[in-house]
C-alpha cells in the first residue's frame, strides 16, 4: 500500500498484514504531470505524481492519503484516475485537530477504515493483531528517538545525511525488520566517535525533505545537522500510541496529538514551542528553514517560526526547494550563513 502523508494510520494496515510504503519523488526533472496538476503546485507533489505516471510503483495494490494539503491530494486524485489501484482510500483526517471533537470524529473514521481494510484483505483484524502492530510501531519510534538522542552528543556519531537515509528507510521497510537493523545500528554507534569536525550544530525544519544531496553539501561546509522537524523526519515518528482499552481510539488520539503538520497547526501554533525545545535540547547554533516552493502552509508558518527563533537569539536561513536542488546557489547562502554564525576567526 502506497501512502502520501504521515497522517495515514499505518498501524491498522500493518495489523491486517499490509506493508506500507511512503510515496516519494525522484528529484529528476520530468514532463508528465503538466496536464494533470498546476505547475505552481509544490514540486514534491508533482514529483510524486510523476513516479506514478511513469509506472515506478506498479507493485502497489493500494494507494491512500489522509487529508493534509490540497496539492498532495490532487497528486493522489490524479494518480488513481490515471493509474487505478485495487484499493484506494481518501481518509478524512480532520483539519482542526485542536477541536475537542477531533478525537471522536477520527475514531469513527478509523473504525470505518478498519472495516474497509478487512473487506479488502478478507482478514479480520483482531485485538491482538492491533496490539502487535501498535507495539511494533511504538518500538520503531522509540528506537528512532534513541538514535536522535545520540545526536545530542558534542560529537554526534551519525550525520544528518545518514539519519535522513535511516528515517527514509523507516518509511518503506517492514517495521519489524527495521527495528532489528536499528538495534544493530544503535549498538554500533554506542561507543563510536567519528573523526570529522562537527562545526556549527544545525537544525533543519520545514516541509517534506528527502534531499540527501543538500544535507551532504551543508555537512561538507563545516556543519552538522543534529536535529530536524520535517514530515519525512522527526514529525513522522515523534509520538507513540498510548495503551488503552479502545485501541482504535488510542490510534486516533496519537494522530490528533502528534507534532502537527502546518496544515493542522491552528489556531494555536503548537509546533513553535516544540521547535524551540528541540533547539535547546540538541544545542543548536542555527536553523535552516527549508520548504518546498509554493508550499502555502509552510510559508504561512515561516514568519512566526523565524520570529520565535530570532527572539531566542537563534539565526535562521530560509531556502526553497525545487525538484532538483540548485546546489551552487544554495552553497553560497549556506557558506555565508555558517561564516555568520561561526567563530570569529576572521576578525
Amino acid at each position: 500500500m502506497g501512502y502520501f502523508c504521515t497522517y495515514v494510520p499505518e498501524e491498522i494496515l500493518y495489523a491486517a498484514g499490509v506493508l506500507t510504503v511512503r510515496i516519494l519523488g525522484s528529484h529528476e526533472p520530468q514532463d508528465v504531470t503538466e496536464p494533470h496538476i498546476f505547475a505552481m503546485f509544490c514540486p514534491f507533489c508533482r514529483d510524486c505524481l510523476a513516479q506514478g505516471l511513469k509506472n515506478r510503483y506498479t507493485y502497489l495494490d493500494g494507494l491512500m492519503i489522509a487529508q493534509s494539503c490540497l496539492h498532495i491530494r490532487q497528486a493522489y486524485t490524479s494518480w488513481i484516475k490515471h493509474r487505478p489501484v485495487e484499493f484506494e482510500k481518501f481518509l478524512c483526517m480532520p483539519h482542526k485537530v485542536q477541536s475537542p471533537h477531533a478525537y471522536e470524529y477520527l475514531t469513527d473514521e478509523l473504525r470505518i477504515f478498519k472495516k474497509e481494510v478487512e473487506d479488502w484483505t478478507g482478514k479480520k483484524i483482531s485485538e491482538s493483531d492491533l496490539e502487535k502492530a501498535i507495539d511494533t510501531y511504538n518500538e520503531n519510534r522509540r528506537l528512532m528517538k534513541q538514535l536522535y538522542n545520540l545526536r545530542k552528543r558534542d560529537n554526534p556519531p551519525i550525520t544528518g545525511e545518514e539519519v535522513m537515509e535511516v528515517v527514509m528507510a523507516m518509511q518503506m521497510t517492514d517495521k519489524e525488520e527495521h527495528n532489528k537493523l536499528l538495534k544493530q545500528l544503535l549498538k554500533n554507534l554506542e561507543n563510536y566517535t567519528p573523526d570529522r569536525a562537527v562545526g556549527s550544530r544545525l537544525m533543519i525544519l520545514g516541509s517534506e525533505d528527502d534531499d540527501t544531496v543538500f544535507m551532504n553539501m551543508v555537512e561538507n561546509c563545516g556543519a552538522t545537522f543534529v536535529i530536524d522537524d520535517h514530515c519525512t523526519g522527526s514529525r513522522y515518528f515523534w509520538n507513540e500510541v498510548e495503551t488503552g482499552k479502545d485501541q482504535v481510539a488510542q490510534i486516533a488520539a496519537r494522530y490528533i496529538d502528534r507534532i502537527p503538520c502546518p496544515t493542522k497547526d491552528w489556531e494555536e501554533r503548537k509546533r513553535i514551542p516544540h521547535i524551540l525545545n528541540l533547539c535547546k535540547d540538541w544545542n543548536v547554533n542555527g536553523v535552516i528553514i527549508m520548504q518546498q516552493k509554493f508550499c502555502d502552509p509552510h510559508e504561512l508558518d515561516y514568519v512566526a517560526i523565524q520570529k520565535a527563533l530570532d527572539d531566542t537569539g537563534i539565526p535562521t536561513l530560509f531556502l526553497e526547494f525545487d525538484v532538483t536542488v540548485p546546489i551552487g546557489q544554495f552553497k553560497i547562502r549556506v557558506e555565508a550563513f555558517l561564516e555568520m554564525i561561526g567563530e570569529d576567526d576572521l576578525f
Partner: protein, 290 residues
C-alpha cells in the same frame, strides 16, 4: 560583426597607491572572481596598495590570474610575494594561488566597512548576476543577509543587455536616464528577456531611448527595494558592486528608501569583495603567525 560597438563594455580600472613602497611590508591579497567581473586587491600591511578590476572570462582560474597580474603590473610584485591570499566570489574555489575561500557576502561586508567606515550597517552589493542585502556590525561582520531569488533579473548583466539593445554606452546609462521630460512608469518586469521584449515594444511606440532607460532603471530600483524591505535598511547605508556606479538606479533607489546612500569612497565600488578578502587574508596571516 567584428565592428559592432560593444555598448555593454564598462570601463575596467586599475590603481596603485603612489605614496607607498611595499618592500619590507606584509603583502596579502584578495581575489573576487564574479560572474561578470573579477577584481584583485593587494594590501601592504593594513594599507591598500593596488587593485585591478576587469571582466571575467570563461575560465575562473585564468580570470583570477589576469586580474592579479594586472594589479601587480609595474609594481615588481610577483605571486610568491603574497603572504596570504583569499579567494571570493562565484569562482572563489578556483583561485589557483589562494589559501582559502570565503563567500562574497562576508567579504563585501568587510570591504564595505573598510571603504565606507565602521558606521556602515547596511550594504547592498549589486553584482553581475545577483544582488545581496547585508547587515553588519562595526567590525564588518555579517549579522544578517538576504540574496535575491535564484533568477538574475535586475542585476548588472541585465543592464549590459539593455545598453546593447539601446545602443548606449553602459557608462552613460545613468546620466541619460535622467535626460527626460517626465519620469515614466517602470517596465513591468525586470526579467532580462521579458524586459527586452517590453522595451522593444516601447521603442516601437515611439518612446525615446532615454525614457526606456529610465523605465528600466526604475524597475531595477524597485526590485532591489523589495529585497531591502524584507531585511530592513539600517543607517549608514552604502552600495557596492558595479550597479553602484549607475546613477540611474542609485538615485531612484535612494528616493524609494528615503535614506541617504553613502558615496564617499575614493575607490571603485566594485573592489569591495576583493578588498574584504584581502583584509581577511591579512587577519588569517596574522593568526597563522602567532
Amino acid at each position: 560583426m567584428a565592428d559592432k560597438p560593444e555598448y555593454w563594455r564598462w570601463t575596467e580600472s586599475r590603481w596603485t597607491n603612489p605614496g607607498l613602497d611595499w618592500k619590507g611590508k606584509v603583502i596579502t591579497a584578495g581575489v573576487d572572481v564574479g560572474s561578470v567581473s573579477s577584481q584583485a586587491v593587494i594590501l601592504a600591511d593594513v594599507e591598500l596598495y593596488a587593485y585591478a578590476n576587469m571582466r571575467t572570462g570563461s575560465d575562473s582560474p585564468d580570470s583570477a590570474m589576469k586580474a592579479m597580474n594586472w594589479a601587480m603590473k609595474d609594481t615588481n610584485l610577483t605571486i610568491p610575494d603574497l603572504a596570504y591570499t583569499v579567494g571570493t566570489g562565484y569562482g572563489r574555489v578556483n583561485v589557483p594561488f589562494s589559501q582559502r575561500a570565503i563567500t562574497e557576502i562576508a567579504c563585501h561586508a568587510r570591504g564595505g566597512n573598510f571603504m565606507y567606515g565602521p558606521t556602515i550597517r547596511t550594504i547592498l552589493d549589486m553584482g553581475g548576476q545577483d544582488c545581496k542585502a547585508i547587515h553588519c556590525d562595526e567590525r564588518g561582520k555579517v549579522t544578517k543577509f538576504l540574496m535575491n531569488d535564484k533568477c538574475a533579473a535586475g542585476t548588472g548583466r541585465g543592464m549590459e543587455v539593455f545598453a546593447d539593445l539601446l545602443g548606449v554606452s553602459i557608462n552613460d546609462v545613468g546620466d541619460l536616464s535622467f535626460d527626460i521630460d517626465k519620469e515614466p512608469q517602470p517596465v513591468s518586469s525586470t526579467c532580462v528577456v521579458y524586459a527586452k521584449t517590453e522595451a522593444t515594444g516601447l521603442l516601437r511606440e515611439g518612446w525615446p531611448k532615454n525614457k526606456v532607460l529610465a523605465a528600466y532603471c526604475s524597475a531595477m530600483a524597485h526590485r532591489i527595494m523589495t529585497l531591502l524591505e524584507r531585511i530592513g535598511v539600517e543607517e549608514d547605508f552604502a552600495i557596492t558592486g558595479g550597479i553602484a556606479k549607475n546613477k540611474g538606479v542609485v538615485k531612484r533607489l535612494e528616493k524609494e528608501v528615503s535614506i541617504k546612500i553613502i558615496k564617499t569612497s575614493k575607490y571603485d565600488p566594485q573592489i569591495a569583495g576583493a578588498l574584504g578578502a584581502a583584509l581577511f587574508a591579512k587577519a588569517l596571516y596574522d593568526k597563522g603567525k602567532k
